[in-house]
Structures are given as C-alpha cells and as structure tokens.
Symmetry: C2
C-alpha cells in the first residue's frame, strides 16, 4: 500500500491533494527555499523546528564571509568598525536587539539585547525584579508546568534571596489561565513569570491579561518567550510587559546554542539592576576605571564580551523573519497546526492518540503535542524513518511546525509515517 | 630611507637579518601557515593576538561543514549524536573542557567546562566560593589593577552578599606579588582572586605561591587566566588552585565573543554551588521534573544550552595548541617578548618610550606594554599603516605576541613602523 493509498483509505479525504493545495496557496512557500534543506536528505519530515530551527543558506554564506572577511580581515578593528558605518561588533547586542524588537517583539528600540543563554538572562532579570521589589514582597509566582530551567532558576533565586515560590498548578495538556494568576498574586508578590507558549502543550497564555492581573497586585512580570518568539506575534510594549527573555535557536533559526535575548521595558531602566556587573554593561567600558556604573538602557543587561560570531546566524534569521513578516508567519502557523489536528483526527483515529494541545487556534502556539503510552519507542522508530518530531517524557510527541521552513506536504508525510509507526507498534503489542 | 636602512642606521645591528634567523630557527614556524593570514592583506604586523586571535584555516572549513553537515544534516539529533561516537553536542562543555585542561590548564579531566562569557563564569565561581565561606569570612581580596570586569563583578557580589572588597594596590607597570597577598589575607578572607597575567603590564603572577598564601589563611582562590591561557603553561592541579576562568578568543583563537571556560577543582565538587541553576547543569536535564539537582562534577557550572556553534572554532584552536604543545608555545613566547624588548631598547632609544612590562622573562606573559604620552594618536597612525597593536588608556601601547601566528619578522616590521610613527609625532610637536 502506498502512502497515498494510506491517506485515502482512512477517511475518504485525499489529504495529499489537500496538502498540495495548501502549499500552492501558501504566501510563504518561497521561504522554504531559503533553507539548507538538501543538507539532510534523509529527513523527509522535520517536525522539530520548535526545538532547533534549520540553517538558512544565507547563514552558511554569511558565516563563511564573517570568518574570512570580518574576523580574519578586520581583526580587532571589527569591535569598533564592522563595516556597516554604524559602529562595530561592540554594539551588536543592541543592534540585534532592536531588529528583534521590530521584527518579533512588538517593542520600541532600546529595550532588548542579544547575548548570554536564556537561562542566564532569565536569572539576571528575575534577580533584577525581585531585588527591586518593595517591602513585604517575598513571593515569586510561576507554574508547575513551566519550562524546567525557569523553575530551577526561580528555586535558586528564592533560596538565595529568602523568598518563596508560589506554584500555580498547570496541566500538561494546558497552560496557565488568568484566573489562576489572579488567585495567586497579592501584596506579597514580587515577580510573576510564565512561559508565553507552554513547552509541553503549546498552550498560548493570555499575556496581556496576565500582565495586567500581576500589575493590579503591584507585581512585575517576566515572560519566557522561547516557544513563541518568531511564531506568535508579540506586543510587549502594548501589553505593558516589564521584562522578557527568549531563545533564538527555535523559530529564529540561530543554530545550536545560539545566544538568547532579554527585554527590559524602558520605564524600568536605571531602576532595575541585574546582578552580573560586567565591563560590557558599563557606561564606559574602555575607561576601565574603578567602580561599576551601568550603561543606559537595555545595554546594562550585558555582562561579558558579546558572542559576535554566534550572532551571525541570528541576524540571518531575523532578516528572513522581517522579509516574511510575523503576521504572515502566524497565519501560516495557525493553518499548519489546524492541518496537523485534522490529520491526527482522521489518520490516527482509533489509535489511542490523545491531543494534548488546545483545540482553539487562538489558544495555541506553533506546535501540537500528542500523547500515547508508547511514544518513546514510536519516536525512535520515526527518527529512523526520516521523520523528526521530539519526545517529551513521559508520553508526549511534539510536532513542531516552523512556518518558514515547514510545508504542508512535509507535515502530511510526517503524520502518515507516524500512523504507520503507531500501527506497527499496535501489531507488536 | 628604506626600512632596512632604518633598522641598520640606529644600532648597527641588522635586525632584519636577526628576525629572519629567529624565524628560520623557529620550531613553530609551520603553525603560522595554519592561519587565514591572507584575509587581512593590509595588515603587515598584527600585534593584538592577545586581544583577538586570528582565525585558522581549519576554523573556516569546520564552520562551513558544521553549518551544513552537522546543524543542517543532523538537526536536533546532533544534541545526542554528533557523529563522534562519544555522545552529542550536549556534552561539548565537558569534552572541550577536558581538551582544554589537557592542552593548556595542567588539570585532570572532569574539572573544566566551556560556555558562557568569562564575566558570567567569573560571577558564578566567585559566588560559589563566597557563598560557601565559613562564618566571619566576609572579605574578597583582589587588586586595583585587575581587569575591569573582574573588579566590577566583585563589587556587585560584595554588595549583594554583604561582603567587603579588600583592595591590593598594584602599579600599572607591575602586578600582584605574594608579599602583598600575605599582608592582605586573614581569617576574614573568603575569596582571593587575581589575573594570572596582568592585562596592562603583562606581569605574570606567581600563582602557586599566591594560592598557597591564600590557603594558609583559610581562603579559596579564583584565577582569571584570560591573558595567560594558551600562552603560559598552567598547572592548576599542582598549584592547588580552587577555581579559575578564562576566555578563548585570545591565544586560543576562538573568535570574537567566543565562549569562556571555568575550572572547579574536583575536591570542591558537590560542595561549592554556583547560583544560576539551569536545566543544563541538572543531573538529569531531560527528566524535566520538579526540583533542581546539580549534575556531578564541573557540569554543574553549566546553566543554559551550550553555545555549540560558537565552540567549533574553539575546538580548532585547541587542536592546533595540542599539536604545537604549550611548552613550545611558551618558549617562543619568551623569545618574542625578549626580541620585542631588544628592538624597543634599540630602535626606540631616545624617543621617551617607557617599557611598562617586567624585564625578567619569567615574570612576564605574552605581551609587552610600552608607554608614551601620545600613544593614543600613535596607535591610530599605526593602524592606518597596517600595524595593529592595541591602546590602553591613558598612554599604553600593548604589543600582543601570539606564538602560533606571530613571526619575528612581523614583530620587527611593527616596531620599525612604530619608530616611524613616533618619530613623525616628534616632528609634529
């Protein structure tokens, strides 16, 4: 039985034709051609762009040119003159931060920087908030389903600053709701922090309402945007967000271990201070004088030497996102996740597969999570079969759909092979 | 007057011939061919390898291959399988840390990791030490001439932990001496920390003796190796060092903003804890369960996702260092700095140039610093003339001599042009 037969046999719908129609009508279809797809000829369906985005052709070219012409050619002079006429590598944290703010964060300039890891920036910003909290504000509110690194950092911050973490219980198949936040915050709350898109379920939190609820209680909010940035439009300024962090190696295609970003709203500049006081966050780094004096604006979030080489792919990713537009990206993302759910409902019917993501398009981000007891083994079988989703213990299979690089046909192929793997697993039981 | 005439005219020594002899006898001459020298055709003398090392040919090749074959080809699977048969990118912090320990640190395996920036790792390790200090130990000892980021971090750590920084006064033309440390430490000392090679003078501290003096007082020692690693042989284990950090973009040729490294002696594992508790330093990162439980060994120094892409050049740099051997590197380094001083003493005699580096070879690292009131302007003139040292306010010109990439002829050419620039400056006065 061919794959096409498989898809027809189940539901009467010709899913392959439907996928082709969606691809033909896709205004972002051109973007797929920007990626180095031929680098992975054995991968027929990459469904993990929410974990590691694919490299762009431009990234390969720019990295080669950076190593030779910029690093090798400008040498130390690149720090003050990168050839752009607007300064040197020294300023890349803000240059990329501003581009990111414009392309994806819904934020004005001067509030974001690129650098460090998400974990380190999350620590810095969490500390900046709790260290500035008013008297009696000794609680941090987050949820039990938050991404592990956020939870671990918060436990550490709470322990070292004599605070308490107040846990909101969230279901693996859901995410935090504003009512839960209202019930948890109060006059003891210093910091409220959640993931905008939950890493397990793909649940999209109502960031505007939750931020407002935290503010009503006199607390500040720190959002982890790792699973939403570059996929879901953000409006950090309009939502009144205080601080945010996120990574650039998922939907922004920055590469394995790419630098993170941090956002601190302008109204907090000069008032909130992160604890890792390094020379690159100093107002005058090359005076090298005694005494730390923080730089103005978001630059004060920087500590050490900016990871310039590692920012080259991030720039390429942001350029592509700006060309595509985050609105078009979100529109395709909603179509992709809806198509995934249609396929699962039809092709995997009767296979004990549970959808662990919100059904309403407006309440989910860019990935869809399925659950079945044997998905650890199924995932291994899929990888061997050229389909690459990821597995999240104990039983979750995440289909990450990156609108710039994932086609509807690619998604269909993945679900068809998932069906085959699941069916074979059933036979083996 | 030609350059050759210039050199002969001054001292009677044929310095050009002497440089050629030294190059011909240089057992590391082959290493220069490993660098992308042709990328900077206008640079006739690069004397800033102590600030930003040049890229290797291998780095350009490996980066291109990494982007295409590893990132693009393995995609998310690279995290668990990098093709080496010994695990995936996930383990690169320790894999590179162990290679670095072997090649340059004089340390056994399991004690070093690569990641973060030097500033962030310095913060983590300083905190780890002071947070574990015994009662009454509320002082941090460092010197006024320490690298700015170290001083700023320490001020921040002292402020947040209720400690006091006890400053040892060091002269710009010197560095810290063991007698000064003995006089500064006592029963209130928690942490003693200095730069191994002083960034201004190039002074090489007696790390073994200073570490012993700190231990005698019951304190722990954190060394900043940024200006010595890859240039001066280190014996961290034998010296009894407790903790260390350093950067990889100077003598290790890791590229602009390359990841840093941290070392924590095995005897402190499980006892000293850094404060940025992230998922990648967790004992079981993919269990993603509640509660932070630090990984065994140096891995607990890791917080966020390892900067894998940015580690590719570091690996290439370490491979070259291992081929060359740190002993041969140091031998050439001593010859280079001695040659630099001979040239300065002869060619710059009568030009009011002061040597601000130790005269004894055993007491200096890989760079030589000169002082003259107008060196800011002279440095600009040199850059325009294809000679790239760096300027350190208010009046220092550093000649950074990277043994793997700097030739004696290149160094001579730089000093000859320096003489020309200084002479012209004199005429303009």
């Amino acid at each position: 039985m061919t794959d096409t037969d498989t898809t027809r046999a189940v539901a009467g719908t010709d899913w392959r034709r439907r996928a082709a129609e969606l691809d033909a009508a896709d205004p972002l279809a051109w973007a797929r051609g920007e990626f180095l797809l031929d680098a992975a000829p054995g991968v027929v369906s990459y469904l993990d762009g929410n974990s590691l985005g694919r490299p762009l052709r431009a990234t390969a070219q720019r990295m080669a040119s950076f190593v030779h012409d910029e690093w090798g050619g400008r040498l130390i002079q690149g720090w003050t003159d990168d050839g752009s006429g607007r300064g040197g590598w020294m300023h890349w944290p803000e240059v990329l931060g501003d581009q990111l703010a414009r392309a994806a964060l819904g934020a004005g300039p001067g509030q974001a920087v690129v650098g460090d890891s998400t974990t380190v920036l999350f620590y810095k910003l969490a500390r900046a908030v709790v260290d500035a909290a008013g008297p009696g504000r000794d609680e941090i509110v987050t949820d039990t389903g938050n991404f592990p690194t956020d939870r671990y950092v918060l436990e550490g911050v709470a322990a070292e600053r004599g605070l308490r973490v107040r846990w909101v219980e969230t279901d693996p198949a859901a995410g935090v709701e504003v009512e839960q936040v209202r019930a948890a915050v109060g006059e003891r709350t210093a910091l409220v922090t959640f993931s905008h898109v939950a890493y397990r379920s793909g649940h999209l939190a109502d960031a505007a309402a939750i931020t407002a609820a935290a503010h009503d209680a006199g607390a500040l909010v720190l959002w982890d945007l790792s699973h939403s940035v570059g996929s879901v439009p953000l409006e950090l300024d309009a939502w009144g967000v205080d601080a945010a962090v996120g990574c650039t190696y998922k939907y922004l295609n920055g590469g394995p271990g790419a630098p993170a970003f941090g956002y601190l709203a302008a109204r907090h500049h000069g008032r909130l201070h992160q604890p890792v006081q390094g020379w690159m966050g100093h107002a005058e780094p090359f005076t090298m004088g005694p005494g730390y004096s923080p730089a103005a604006g978001a630059r004060s979030l920087v500590s050490g030497t900016p990871p310039v080489l590692a920012m080259v792919p991030v720039r390429a990713g942001l350029d592509l996102l700006e060309r595509a537009g985050i609105g078009a990206v979100r529109a395709k993302s909603e179509l992709l996740t809806a198509f995934a759910l249609d396929l699962v409902d039809d092709l995997l019917a009767g296979h004990d597969v549970e959808v662990a993501s919100p059904r309403e398009p407006g309440r989910r981000g860019g990935h869809v999570t399925l659950r079945r007891a044997d998905f650890r083994a199924v995932n291994e079988r899929l990888w061997a079969d050229g389909v690459v989703p990821d597995f999240r213990a104990p039983d979750g299979l995440r289909l990450g759909l990156a609108p710039l690089s994932t086609s509807f046909t690619e998604l269909l192929e993945g679900v068809v092979r998932l069906r085959r793997a699941v069916a074979r697993s059933g036979e083996q039981r």
